[in-house]
Amino acid sequence: MARKKRVNELGLSKSDYAGASTTLCAGCGHNAIIGQMIAACFEENIPPEKLVKFSGIGCSSKAPTYMLKRSFGFNGLHGRMPSLATGALLADMSLIGIGMSGDGDTASIGMGQFKHIMRRNVPLVYVVANNGVYGLTKGQLSATAEEGLALKRQGQNKYMPIDIVWEALVGRASFVARGFSGDPKQLKTLFKAALHHRGTAVIDVISPCVTFNNMDDSHHSYAWGKIHEVALHELSFVPPGKSIKVKYEKGETAEVTLHDGSQIILKKLGRDYDPNNRGAALQLLEEANKKNELVTGLIYINPKQISIFDIEYLPPSPLNRVPDEELRPSRDSLDKVNAMMF
């Protein structure tokens, strides 16, 4: 790499975005997520102090420790990262939230909070590192495991899988994507777009657990993903104020413009796919699930969907910096209140 590439526009090097060194298993899909998230934040020139990390509990939820050491982080409770993030992000709406979760964390114990953060459209890059298994507790079946998956000590999965993307779609998330740890390039672009999205950006990342669920025929393994991945489009991201570098043929691409003026460029691959159409996305998923296709890419986006930041009637400066004098209503107002009582 050329020397000048080593700092970004803020003058920060990539190591300014690093975290503690990972203690995940060698080869764990989650490590790819960590790497691409670091790269996306670095390349997008986001000051680390403007990022806040949240997570639940699980190997996946340890990821925040291994990235962005200069950012605040909160490793909360199993399945209940969304509520934590909701409360915290309202304290300073200029911050960008990254939420790391796992499939157990989101689809089992966390299902309720997952659904409700989407309803509120809390701006958060919500990454589900989905390996179909409980890594940290050593290999139990998770709710996203495919029917029939057989794991050591657990036997066969007899229940139907929960599809995170599908759930996000009917949950009306304003940004729904799927990535694959074996496809880091696409992952990085998805992360970049999500970091610029004002709303809940759910990214379901198929992220193999090499220790407990990486058998070739497991739907969450590298081998399976490599074979079954169907990318919906080739993605590139144009930050706000920049212009598109590559020239495309007319009709070859579609653009989505985010609230801050940045753009996602979708280059057609095989099929025509419009990520603004939720009905089509639902149908696509149903078909893909039947055909065992691992559809990846930006599956749905609505950059205009109003977020909790817009909904709550808040002053523009961070709430957590309101000075003491302004926190307490005036003495006069209390007289008024007392008078309002009977």
């Binding site: 605040f72 490793n75 934590l84 409360g87 304290a91 909070q113 409700h116 002053p315 709430l319 209390l334």
Partner: protein, 613 residues
């Protein structure tokens, strides 16, 4: 239930009225109007709503006690009964003391089987029919009939009723007029038709000057707002719902930014209590003055998150408006049964300070104080009240503006960090008081960021499983708890000359216990009374117990939870303490307290009423 025969005769400003109605029938308007009218006449008054866990159609009671001497506890006796509900007619009639007044809707075709009472049938339907009430509102206005008849019988000033309705309907003329019309008609009917005179009368006095009326939930909400509340997440649950709803109601009035017109706070109705806890803790962690309000079942669900807040040292306030448990229990009845739950909430060695407001006014005061304490101690602070204090309207002195500036505790911003001459660590006990310094997200100083977790960590917030590090950290947390002992509100002590025995109580039972003190004194037993206002107990509590031969701990739960907690805290005093518990869902009465104490006191042998061992 009543043991002494009351003497019939003119009784002024010193009796109770029980009104039996059907819930969802609009009787609340009638009942609060009555109470407020008494209040405006200057008569000390209290009103208790005894209602079912249901929206419409089941029996509900409202008891109003007028007391020229200022006693506002529930009274065991009732001198006047208004029976509007056929389903509770018999029961209601039985409640009355001999010689009492029984008003009943004349369409209840049941026999007035007692002859020792003054019974007045009320032609409710007829009066309403003859009034201007539109047909579809008739059911709701039925209850105004007894308001009017009582006004005549007792001598309530009409303009005070008018004021009460003005307030209730927020000045909206149409409903006010409709209601007043029924009242006037009923008064007129009563004047023309009632043969007997009631032995009970009201007369204007000056017992409520400078008082206002409010509920504990409203006061808690306002107190929190005046404590600089910035974030509240909640999930609906009786009897706590009124607290966040009051925040939403009053915040536009007092918390609007004059420039932007925006509030400086957020209130989120969460999807459940687990999420409410998580949001509250997220906000507290990020530097907002943050609270939630719930009741027993919800607090149970908040246990794991509270354990995290305790260990990660996140300031938050949790209000628990107690209802009767275990389980769903009696969701619309009062109890003080969640003390253990709140004190120990969470797994591992958790322990939380609890504030016990004992009046509506104190709900306001502890509203802001709890937020201060939470940030000073960087830990969850519990505030426990109960349905009675939370939902009923009480007379109270007006809310007082906080007398100390807002305390944000040890928080470092960019310039603080810049000027530091020591190396900051999130959990470093620099000052030796157990309380570290914190930073919050948004702080752009490169040294400010740290990682928060519920797992073991060292002084610099790094992950650690080291045994000594763990142990040291837990010890520090417990030093904070000991520090809390010196910071929480001290008890209020009411002494009587020569008293050798003491009583400890807290919360909504204060009026009953106070009154019992007076009754006992009259009966020759002097008691000193300590109203506990917080856990952990302070030195004043220890001294109080030391000074007395016996100390009764009075509470509304089965196990005597406070008694247990104090006993284990000061085992050397434990044998002096006697646990007296009452736990039926009804509010405590002075009679019960008096009887319970006398039964235990050597030389007295009265039996207590309904004594929950």
């Amino acid at each position: 239930m009543t043991e002494e025969k009351p003497k019939p005769g003119p009784v002024v400003n010193d009796f109770s009225i029980t009104i039996g109605t059907v819930n969802g029938s609009g009787s609340q308007t009638a009942n609060t109007t009555l109470m407020r009218a008494f209040f405006k006449m200057g008569i000390p008054v209290s009103g208790k709503n005894i209602f079912p866990s249901n929206i419409q159609g089941l029996p509900t009671w409202y008891t109003i006690r007028l007391s020229k001497d200022g006693y506002v506890a529930r009274s065991e006796t009732t001198e006047i009964v208004v029976a509007m509900n056929k389903d509770s007619f018999q029961e209601d009639l039985e409640k009355l003391i001999p010689g009492g007044v029984f008003l009943y809707a004349d369409d209840i075709r049941q026999e007035v089987f007692r002859e020792d009472v003054l019974a007045f049938p009320m032609p409710v339907k007829k009066i309403i029919r003859e009034s201007d009430t539109p047909r579809k509102l008739r059911d709701y206005l039925n209850n105004m009939v007894y308001v009017g008849i009582l006004a005549h019988l007792l001598g309530i000033e009409v303009e005070k009723l008018q004021q009460a309705l003005d307030f209730h309907f927020n000045g909206k003329q149409t409903p006010i007029d409709l209601n007043m019309e029924v009242i006037n008609r009923s008064m007129k009917w009563a004047a023309e038709n009632l043969e007997h005179e009631s032995p009970y009368r009201v007369e204007a006095m000056d017992g409520t000057d400078d008082y206002i009326m409010s509920s504990g939930n409203t006061a808690g909400a306002l107190g929190s707002i005046y404590g600089g509340l910035q974030f509240a997440a909640w999930y609906p649950i009786t009897p706590a719902t009124g607290l966040p709803e009051a925040i939403m109601k009053y915040r536009p009035e007092v918390q609007t930014d004059p420039e932007t017109g925006k509030y400086k706070s957020v209130v989120v109705q969460a999807e459940d209590e687990l999420a409410a806890a998580g949001m509250t803790i997220g906000a507290g962690w990020a530097g907002l003055r943050s609270m939630t309000a719930t009741s027993g079942p919800g607090l149970s669900l908040m246990g794991e998150y509270t354990s995290l807040a305790y260990y990660a040292e996140v300031p938050v306030v949790l209000w628990n408006v107690q209802r009767m448990g275990p389980s769903t229990g009696l969701p619309t009845r009062t109890s003080q049964g969640d003390i253990n739950l709140a004190h120990y909430l969470g797994q591992g060695d958790t322990q939380h300070p609890i504030l016990f407001p004992g009046s509506v006014n104190e709900c306001f005061e502890f509203g802001w104080k709890a937020l201060d304490l939470a940030e000073e101690l960087q830990t969850p602070i519990m505030v426990l009240i109960d349905l009675d204090l939370g939902m009923n309207q009480w007379m109270t002195s007006p809310f007082e503006y906080p007398d100390t500036p807002i305390k944000r505790g040890k928080i470092l911003w960019e310039e603080d960090l810049e000027n530091l001459d020591w190396e900051w660590g999130r959990y470093l006990d620099k000052d030796g008081d157990g309380i570290p310094y914190r930073t919050v997200p948004g702080n752009t100083h490169p040294k400010s960021a740290y990682f928060t977790r519920g797992t073991g960590h060292d002084d610099y917030a790094n992950y650690s499983e080291d045994p000594e590090t763990w142990d040291e950290n837990i010890k520090r947390l417990n030093r904070k708890f000991e520090l809390a002992r010196t910071l929480v509100p001290k008890p209020k002590i009411h002494r009587r000359d020569g008293a050798e025995i003491g009583v400890i109580a807290f919360g909504s039972t204060d009026p009953a216990v106070s009154e019992a003190g007076d009754i006992l004194e009259a009966a020759g037993v002097r008691v000193d009374y300590l109203r506990l206002r917080a856990l952990p107990i302070t030195t004043e509590v220890v001294e109080f117990i030391q000074e007395h031969d016996r100390v009764y701990v009075v509470e509304m739960n089965h196990h005597g939870q406070l008694h247990q907690i104090i006993s284990q805290d000061i085992p050397e005093q434990a044998l002096k303490m006697v646990s007296l518990t009452y736990n039926t869902g009804l509010q405590l009465t002075a009679d019960w307290v008096k009887n319970a104490i006398l039964t235990e006191e050597p030389g007295f042998s009265e039996k207590p009423g309904s004594f929950s061992d």
